[in-house]
């Protein structure tokens, strides 16, 4: 039978894949994509706990996470477009004007 641990393992694997993408990608949009994978891994955890230890809070907060992820993606894309307009390039290695 498939139990809670299987879902937690799946979420851990997905989170690690997303982390690898965040660490190795250089294109800002690709980093945002990997970030969405990590959001989804957390969401699977919330819904899985809500299912196996019946409690509505998991489902409630998974929907909050979806809303926050949508907000994050919107602002992220706006930042990417702004950086692109200034530098003609969205490689994160080049966006260093705030680095000291």
């Amino acid at each position: 039978m498939i139990g809670l641990m299987h879902y937690l393992g799946l979420a851990s694997a997905l989170f690690c894949i997303g982390l690898y993408g965040v660490l190795t990608r250089r294109n800002a949009v690709a980093v945002l994509m990997s970030l969405e994978l990590m959001f989804n891994a957390v969401n699977i955890n919330l819904v899985a706990f809500s299912h196996f230890k019946p409690e509505i809070a998991g489902v409630v907060f998974s929907l909050f996470v979806i809303a926050v992820a949508a907000a994050e993606a919107t602002v992220g894309v706006a930042l990417v477009l702004s950086v692109y307009r200034n530098q003609r390039n969205i490689d994160l290695d080049h966006a260093t004007s705030l680095r000291w």
Partner: protein, 181 residues
Amino acid sequence: MSPFLFYFLAGVVLIPALAVVLSENLFHAGLSLIVSFLGIAAIYVTLSAPFVAGMQVLVYAGAIAVLLLFAFMLTHDIMKPLQKATRGQQVSALLACVLLAGAMGRVLAASGWELSLVSDSEGASLTELGLAYLTRYLVPFELISILLLMTLIGAVVIARKEEHEPTTEFEQLSETAEEIS
């Protein structure tokens, strides 16, 4: 739920996820992202949360993935090759991920949760969910609406094109020179 179905869905989630982080072609990565999101929606259905699955399809697969694809197509210069991480960065990132996976595996093993803990819960009905949002979780619910409004305004302000007027003749000349070059 049958193990076969779970492992099939896990494959549908994880293989496109690997394609998202490894693919050379960012457009293919974006399309794989949509497949991965749909697989996760199916996972939510097996967890008896059909409403979350519906929101996953609408918001993630429908809105966020398409938004990211649009951002990619608006900014990427097709002729330029994708800049990649160096070999050393790849190895250290892989090491970090493997260490994190090991740590999470240790925590799961030490948690004492039964591997075969099964549930026959029907999941929360839509009525219960709505009541929870409007009673116990009313304050976070309202905060989310404020957050979405702030995001709307913030995204417009950040992405807006700044119209700056060249003030001096020198600036006008240098802009013309830039355009020529």
